[in-house]
């Protein structure tokens, strides 16, 4: 099977970079990044990644808003989305998980196991 292709969306440059390194170096996946919701929507339609890791709190389009755009798009409607959030309150996490997402991963995530967490959520074999 070809390498997993992931789109990482976060407004924090550092987090994008850490996540990208994690998935590429540790997971052996192919990771691309987007710094905003708009960029994510544009990129996702063209790249058709296997999964999108989407930050929740971003200026401009928020995570849930970006998710809605993705679901409206003909080419992006079926792409699994996993929220990345630094919100720690269980009520917030629960609300997020009720949206049309495959799962929620809390920040700070462990870069050594991030690809496994994503795989577990999506039922991919590691």
């Amino acid at each position: 099977m070809s390498r997993r292709r992931v789109l990482i969306v976060d407004d924090e440059d550092d987090i994008r970079e850490v996540a990208q390194m994690s998935l590429e170096l540790v997971g052996g996946w192919e990771a691309t990044t987007a710094g905003s919701g708009d960029e994510c929507v544009a990129r996702a339609a063209g790249d058709a990644p296997d999964v999108i890791l989407l930050d929740v709190m971003m200026p401009g389009l928020s995570g849930p808003e970006t998710l809605a755009r993705l679901r409206d798009g003909r080419d992006t409607v079926g792409i699994p989305v996993i929220f990345l959030t630094a919100k720690a309150q269980s009520s917030e996490t629960r609300l997020l998980s009720e949206l049309d997402v495959a799962g929620v991963i809390a920040k700070p995530f462990d870069p050594m196991t991030l690809h496994e967490d994503v795989s577990a959520i999506l039922g991919w074999s590691p």
Binding site: E12, V26, G103, P108, M112, A120
Partner: protein, 914 residues
Amino acid sequence: MLTPPIPADEPRRLQSLHSLGVLDTPPERRFDRITRVATAAFRVPIALVSLVDHDRQWFKSCVGLDVTQTDRSISFCGHAILSDDLLIVPDALDDPRFADNPLVVGEPRIRFYAGCPLSGPEGRKLGTLCIIDREPRSFDAESVALLRELGSWVEEELASIGLERALASLREQAEMLDRASESIVIRDLDARIVYFNAGAEAMYGWPVDEALGAVTHDLFATVFPEPLAGIEEALYRDGRWDGELRHTTRAGDEIVVLSRWSLQTAADGRPKAVLEISSDVTARLRAEEELRRSEELYRSVIAAMSEGVIVQDAEGIVTACNQSAERILGYGAERLLGRSPADPRWGAVREDGSPLPVEEHSAFQTLRTGDPVRGVVLGVRRPDGELRWLSASSEPIVRSGESRPYAVVTSFEDVTEQREVARMKDEFVSVVSHELRTPLTSIRGALRLLEGGAVGDLDEKAQRLLEIAGSNSDRLLRLINDILDIERLESGQVSVDRRPADALELVRLAVDAIQPIAERAGVTLRSDVEPVALVVDADRIVQTLTNLLGNAIKFSDPGGEVVVEVRGGAEGAVVRVVDRGRGIPAAKLESIFDRFQQVDASDSRQKGGTGLGLAICRSIVAQHGGRIWAESVAGVGSTFTFTLPAAEMQAVTPASIAGAGRATAAPTVAVCSAEPRTIDALAPVLERRGYRVLGMSSIAEVATVTATEQLQVVLLDLDGEGAVADDLPAGAAIDGVPVVMFTRSGLPHEGGEGSAVVSLDTGAVDTEFLGDVLQRALRAHAPVRRVLVVEDDPDLAAIIVETFQRHGVETHHAPTTRDAVQLSHEVAPDLVVLDLVLPDGDGFWVVDWLRRQDRLHLVPLVVYTAKDLSDEERERLRLGQTVFLTKGRVSPEEFERHVIELLGHITPPRAEAA
């Protein structure tokens, strides 16, 4: 014979006769001597004082006859009373009225009769004085005059009887007046007392002989409510006056009397005296005054309260309210009174914004149950449409002896601002949490990547620096988490989610979590736990235990021991964590539970604590209604104890402890490792996930076991001395049992697609990850699974179907019981997910049907319903392995996890699989 006619005034005559009260009384001298005089004077054998009653004549006095009465119809006297004149019958045989009278023709053979009619006090003819002879006689005028004279004498005696009776009755009345508790005073027009009853003596204190002749107004020092002249004017004009007077008694006490005066007049209509009847109302007035004052006090207290208060009758109609109620609700009293809280104009809503049904109103709850209700939060609309949030409590008002309240008092406060503050705080916590975690995510991520060797090997010094940076970023994260945790706990925003749990299970979870730390510190953990059924927030109690155990380990020396102990009692559970550490000074035993109050300020740096752990523990225990404290002996060790009060001691069955229910036959996992410690680390984790664990040291051993044990999966350690898996190709199976190979090196193994090699950190096993790995292994080796989803809600059904399909499971959907039966028959599912409420019947029926089918009566079942099921209902629904999940209680992720786990546990019999 002529029967005597009845006189025209007969009723009044009889009334007059009876009122004398002389009939049927014994003979009296005063009448007998008159009849004796008559017989002697007129030389007759018989003389009578005869009184004519309704149908008889009765003799008050009688000379010469043996009878005391005869019939009126044959009487002579009946005729005599018809006229004022004497009745003279010289010879009865010559008189047609009497000739054939039985008293004439028979005994006493009357021939002569002379009767003088007798008038009573009111002038009615009551009877006669009569003389009788058995011979005819003539009766001259002189005799007539004499008989009349004697008749007058009888009349006088009768009159005196009447007077005596009147006197006796007056005497009785006087006694009654005396006995009356009211004061009765009669005074003349100069106000001099002429009558003073016993009631007056008692009320004022003067004996009657001192009072008589005194001037009333002076004696009583009367204070009039208006000038006396005005009162007297009214008295003379109307004949009466009443009002309240102040009097002073003989003892000098001032009393208040309610006095009724009436003017007595003489026969000519001129006033002659004044009757004053008075009652002492001092005590009553005082009581009324006190009542009024206390009512006034309560009224002003209620008026001054900042809480709104409304009173409603049994129908819920508002009958009273205070000013705060008007202020909070924004309506004047005139618009509140008469209104019911059920009035749609309130637009009352629940906390979640949905309309509040009337029966949820605290007042209506109280009216319905008779019990007080506290702290119901509701939103109401003010007239300007503004929504205000209230916290309302209701108390029933019940009359003694009755059980149903006749009214209800509801007090409420405006919590709109408090809610706003709480919301802002919540938001702040959320923002802070996010803002602090975001940079930490990058820092920790970068450090972990470096530390993990993702970008190449580092020299020892660099590695050490990274460790320092890494452990401090971990500490910063813990600090942030703890601060947020305690903020939310202490602001009461986190409500404890109580569910049945067993102490054994909670302690095991905590020990599992802390075990790696204990091992690193070289400290032995020992637990001594009684199985106590608790109703607690399991996560929070595990957090408390983990904190306490972590502390105990931190302050123990290598080689030391930490004991966790749970004892159950009627009061609940007592949990102790005992260490043999350096101890806590007595002065600090209390303060260590405060924030950032460690025994030694350097502890936080050296031991990596946040200084908040014990404060969090105290909050959690307090929220459960328990208590926490520490005891310590310096150099010997410390004991931390907390109590958990017994919630309603409900019977907690093992099934309800497991929550979602656990598969009955646990699938067996063989853990194969040359390192016994690896087996010890994995076994508890696997057991907790419902697997039975067999420890093995070599593949050969596994191979022997497969002959006798039905293994579902083998976990094979690739590391360690004499690597057990050297001779086994990746992805293989042992006797048809799937093998998952794992490495403890922390690095991903080179493995092709489908190879089941995973990286496990046996120091801190990721339970979820391990569970997933095992399930995938089980699924990979199982034949295609078929699941039947019986669910009428199309959206929910689609989600469930998608969930299964994501896991590679063949899924069929039945929206009705009919479809359920049809599809069960056709596809013979390996698992049924069943909703209970269906458009054409219910799930119970489907279960009954399945139970009757040979192939399906043991099919595993997931009952997924919005209904809370009773134990009895659960029993009725049980098929094979049966799991009950409640919609809304179980998140989609939990549902998925439970169901997939169940599916993973299902292993078709080996024969069929082959």
